[in-house]
Amino acid sequence: MPSNMKHYFATHRVKAFFLFAALLVSGTLTAQTYIDDGFLDNIEKNAKSVWDEPSPAFTSNNTPDAWKNESAIIMGYKRSILFDKKSSGGFFTARENSVYFFEKVRFKIKVQDKNSVEHFSEIYFRYGDKQDGFNAHIIKPGGEVQNVDLKEAVSVESTSDVPEFFKSFFDQSYSSQRRYYKVAVSNLEPGDILEYVANTKSNLNVTGAGFVEFTPQYEVCSKSYPVAYNEIDIETDSKSFFKSLSLNGAPEFNKESTDDKDFFKYVFIDKNREIQKDINFINELTVYPVVKFQVIYANKPNAKGVLIGDKGELKKGFSREELAKKAWEDYEAVGDYPYAPGNAYATVQFVINSSWADLKKLGAKEWPEKQYVERAYYYVRHLVVYRDTYLSDKMFAYIFGSLLYQRDIQSELVISISNDIGKLKDVLFDQEIRYAIKLNNQYYFNCTDHSNPGDMVQSLLGNDAYIIYKPAAKTGAQDIKPITLPEVTADDNTAVYNIEASLDAGMNNLSVKRKNTFTGISKAREMDEAMKFTTYMLDDYKYYGGGSPTDNMKSAQADEYQKSTTALKDEFKEAKPEFAKQELQREFGHNVKFSDYKIASDGRSVKNKTLDFTETFELPDITRKAGRKYLLSLTGLVGGQLQIKEEQRDRKLDISVGYPHTLTWNISFKIPDGYTVAGLTELNTNVENEAGKYSCEAKEENGSVVIKIIKCYKQRNVPKENWKNMLAFIDEAYNSSFKYILLKPKS
């Protein structure tokens, strides 16, 4: 409970410093001026038209009995957005340069406990235009309606603080910093219904714009509370286009007639939606009912480069020809993009040209093709290392493909879709199209700071794809070759932990030297942490055969560079042990005394793709006592294992493991002098099925306990019917992590 009285400035002067630091991190800065009295005159009046609209779904104040034990029930949620370039309301000027958005929202929730009362104690609304309207009321259980007074509303500093159910669709789509206010709701109690309507107008200047794609929307039907009624109405004039695709059983948008032949209306209605309960191994967009939709403004019905249907068409998907055409057009345009956000002077083509010039200076024309391809990839990776952001797939493919083209190496362009989203047939937005380069039988996916040519990407494993070619100049005909992207196996993605452990003389603390080896996607997932606070970036130029940055520097500049790198090394030298210690403590849920961290192979080259590093540390107070005997959990050295709780054992949704992979622990524990060991046979187990495996083999060998543990996720996707297979080896791994061995004194 915070202390509640006014903060005396000086009292909290230094405390406030820490608070401030925390706020900078958390970004929860709020408020702070009262709403202008002048606004209040309009805002409720402007909202009246929304209240007046017939909305049968909002009429009843009754809620289903089945939800009586839910924290809250969303009784109704209706959003209507009109996209209007022309003068539908008759009040725009003839030379209007903006697209206007008229958004109406009606939201009705029954708060059934103190928790939801607390959540809805503050409500938010937008007032950025004199035509904006907002009004809220609560309905008491007896039917009495009490208006929510807005006169004590205060402004909110950041739109990001506005909760989901109060933010304008336009603000979510365009992340604009609109003026929002919040107000405390008087007299709200469990059992009350809170209802609000909002009416906002936004505009976007589209002068000179061929088209504007509004942010694609993924409306997941299930929310944090059960939803009785959810409606989204999209109405567009003839300048805007609409597309939508419903997946996993979600209702579809339907086209409805309008009074004006130049306007088109699309309506989505979802009813009686429960909250989702499955939490492990979930890929939301491929299993939850979801409807995708997007509005695109285009100044011509056949705007080039826009993935849209025809005027007034409710487009629900795209043929492979449409996709391929769009992908190729987008790909070809990349050269003119700015290379870095906000820098219009250096285009991608400029960077390609200078990269090719650099490579030529290094003798790239003479390198064998295989070497050139690798070095070109590493050149692009080097660019990425020194960028703030990763390249998009499309930009990577364009740069890498162009560098190959400079050497007359003919590569192929591949398009696909992330398997977190679905299959190619599910592509609705051009942002969903993923790009890669294929050369001979090798795929080159977008690079990270640490990837090598040919490294697989988890999100594209085994998905369907097209190789697409330049359309014919005259006919526009385009060759498209359907393919399937490569899969990987659990043997390709491995994590091997070789552990040497021994107890101290006091039989209390366990010294551990752990050599960690990672390959494939397991390595890719480990790299950021492994390489954090290392100076991998300083000699990254070597991978593409480049020279040191100091080669072309004058003496003073080189000195400055050396000073900078020395300072960086010093900083990282201090930071790395602490970081490694924190990671280990998180892994074991136990205090760790950290000693050393050494990277034998960073896995950043084609010659050595394996990440290999060793950590030396101590786990204090790890043993348990039983008289003069000691108990030690060596299987606990695998770290925390996933537990599937009782309520999660009845599976409703298909299982997404992400990628097949294998984890192996080879543990060698030196039996302390004067002790014998027991309990090894009790450790042995082997559970294996088509979904995965857990095995443990323990034996005594040359004065040591030797344990080999394997946990393997064999399949990337597992149907819900086979959840029992997953449970079998996951449970065994979990249960095994609690087993002890016994150390008995010899005398």
Partner: protein, 643 residues
């Protein structure tokens, strides 16, 4: 997509050499960096100069206006370093000038850029006027220097209550100078100066007396886990404007505690209560209540349950309570508003009730110190059957007669019209706040089954209620299960029963059946079992060698465990752990295993009697924790009799 590690790379991209710093600056940086190895930036000098003038506050009263001129010079101790310098302000403390300057050669060049401005409303406060301006100070050379200058105006001297010497960064020299005119009587009360070398000089010149406080070589403030508040330990000065003359008239500041009371009471009276508007609701609350105690409870609990904590604290709203009728109508308020409503309700009900100011335990000062920094909270005090009761409506589910630990032992300033009374909120011991666990388990193959009952009293019961009642209904069952599962993922509780959780006055009991897997290790025919489920070794409170501040637990309590395990006939317990008994002034532990036939019982009691563990007690405290840890390490050995 934003990459995760780009800072280092950005630094390396700086190709143009920075303006060379003077060799002397680099030398200074080198010396400081040896002393403060973990720090990136130090402050070479921090000078705050306070001058006093006369003015009027927003209420039209004659007051002392204070101007603060400050200059801080920062030096980088590393090649690449950053520091964010914030300056806080609000409606009463205005930031008139705030500038950053960068040293180029031997000169400072002032930046044209204004500080970045933000609201800094704390979580839990709906709206206030607290703001900050800050400058990110970025250095790219060791020895590089930057300077902050500022001018602030305290529109009413009451709001300059204290200044601290230590900062979040090392400071080579910290100086506070107060230039006091003859018409002003002000006192500078040294707090926690003992053990610190702080020079104080006093110089009279031209009708002014200058008081200068200087402290050198200050390490940065340590921000340690569960640290005792810095007002308890760090040196600081409380500024007390006692009186001043204006046009021959002598005007009161805060000279005596009466002056503080009069100020507080004046603002309290501005609430504008209209008791008549409370009567209809009060009548409903009191329906069927005949005794005075029943009436008190009915009102107290109604306010706890029906008024949400929502705080508007901008300007004088931070000091003047909302009117009782306003709080009632809105069903929300801050502590002052709730205390005001509660007081008015009780007065109308015929109870001897009074609005009361109090400082929580985070504040070290007694009410005898006449300064605004003494109180930060408001409650209601009633006199009932010759005894004071302190009612805090912000503490949900606290029963009448009990007090939250955060106000225990603190002096309360009780409003009584023109007069006031100071009374201490009673302090309780750990024995009154108990978590009692009784478990009866049986070994059934390799599973432990049985029943568990947890009983909570005192603040432990109130804490439970506050957490449980605020949960979504859908999460309450899991929460109750968790109470019996001891945080052990392998324990599963079923058939949960509770005491009447709608009654905040009775102890909370949660009981049910449990089933525990993965807790029995069978090795070579013997079984090894732990029944010490609540180790409570307080490992997080083990001080390492670097710890410099005392711990403040923020609570006192007792854990009382009685866990029995019955094994099947034909099995017996061997290697019974030794009993352990430890007693100290602030904490104690007792643990003992006893065997009767084929049942073993662990009785364990851990009491935290004092919420503070002082640095001087760390060695004893660590030994205490080590001993408990050793006791908790034991597994019971269960063997077959035939062996």
């Amino acid at each position: 997509m934003l990459k995760r590690f780009s800072k280092a790379l950005l630094l390396l991209c700086i190709s143009a050499p920075a303006f060379a710093q003077l060799p002397a600056d680099e030398q200074t940086a080198t010396e400081l960096s040896k002393k403060y190895k973990k720090e990136d930036v130090a402050c070479l000098s921090s000078y705050h100069y306070f001058t006093f003038d006369k003015g009027k506050n927003a209420l039209g009263e004659k007051v002392v206006v204070i101007q603060e001129d400050a200059e801080m010079e920062f030096i980088s101790l590393k090649k690449f370093a950053t520091l964010t310098y914030p300056e806080f302000y609000n409606r009463f403390v205005q930031l008139k000038v705030f500038k950053k300057a960068v040293k180029m050669g031997s000169k400072y060049i002032t930046s044209d850029r204004a500080g970045i401005d933000h609201a800094v409303t704390e979580d839990g406060v709906f709206f206030d006027d607290s703001r900050v301006q800050y400058y990110p100070l970025r250095f790219d050379q060791k020895g590089a220097m930057q300077r902050i200058t500022l001018k602030k105006e305290y529109s009413d001297g009451k709001y300059l209550t204290r200044v601290f010497f230590h900062m979040p960064y090392p400071v080579k020299e910290q100086a506070f100078e107060f230039k006091v005119p003859e018409w002003l009587s002000v006192d500078f009360k040294p707090m926690n100066f003992t053990g610190y070398k702080i020079e104080k000089t006093e110089t009279k010149k031209g009708g002014y007396t200058s008081y200068v406080f200087v402290m050198k070589d200050l390490p940065p403030i340590t921000n340690e886990f569960k640290s005792v508040g810095r007002a308890f330990r760090d040196p600081h000065i409380v500024i007390q404007i006692k009186s001043f003359e204006a046009k021959g008239e002598s005007l009161k500041g805060f000279d005596k505690v009466d002056d503080i009371y009069n100020w507080n009471n004046k603002l309290y009276m501005m609430a504008g209560n209209q008791p008549d508007k409370l009567k209809p609701v009060l009548a409903k609350i009191l329906q069927g209540k005949t005794t005075e105690e029943d009436k008190i409870k009915a009102v107290y609990y109604w306010v706890q349950d029906n008024i949400r904590y929502i705080a508007y604290e901008d300007g004088y709203s931070g000091y003047i309570p909302s009117s009782a009728q306003d709080v009632l109508e809105k069903k929300y308020g801050d502590c002052k508003g709730m205390a005001n409503l509660l007081t008015e309700f009780l007065k109308l009900a015929g109870v001897d009730a009074h609005f009361t100011w109090i400082g929580t335990r985070s504040i070290p000062y007694p009410q005898s110190l006449p300064a605004l920094c003494v109180n930060n909270h408001a409650i209601c005090t009633i006199y009932y059957k010759d005894k004071e009761y302190f009612l805090d409506a912000t503490e949900k589910y606290v029963p009448f007669g009990e007090n939250a630990f955060r106000i225990q032992g603190k002096e309360a300033m009780i409003a009584k019209g023109d007069a006031f009374e100071i009374k201490q909120v009673p302090l309780t011991t750990g024995n009154e706040h108990k978590v009692q666990t009784n478990a009866s388990l049986a070994l059934n193959n390799n599973t432990l089954t049985g029943s568990v009952k947890v009983t909570l009293t005192g603040n432990e019961r109130t804490d439970f209620q506050q957490e449980y009642q605020q949960l979504p209904m859908t999460s309450q069952k899991d929460f109750l299960n968790g109470m019996l599962e001891f945080g052990n993922d392998n324990m599963q509780a079923t058939d949960i029963k509770t005491s009447d959780l709608s009654n905040r006055e009775v102890p909370v009991t949660v009981e049910g059946k449990v089933n525990l897997d993965n807790n029995v290790n069978t090795i070579a025919g013997d079984k090894y079992i732990s029944i010490d489920f609540f180790p409570k070794t307080l490992q997080r409170y083990t001080p390492d060698e670097k710890r410099v501040t005392a711990y403040d637990f923020d609570y006192v309590l007792t854990y009382d465990d009685d866990i029995s395990l019955t094994v099947p006939n034909g099995w017996k317990f061997t290697d019974i752990p030794q009993k352990l008994e430890l007693t100290s002034d602030g904490y104690s532990f007792k643990g003992d295993y006893t065997v009767v036939n084929n049942t073993i019982t662990l009785r364990k009691t851990l009491t935290i009697k004092n919420n503070i563990i002082n640095v001087s007690d760390f060695a004893n405290w660590k030994k205490f924790l080590e001993s408990i840890k050793e006791f908790n390490k034991y597994f019971l050995t269960v063997t077959q009799n035939a062996k």
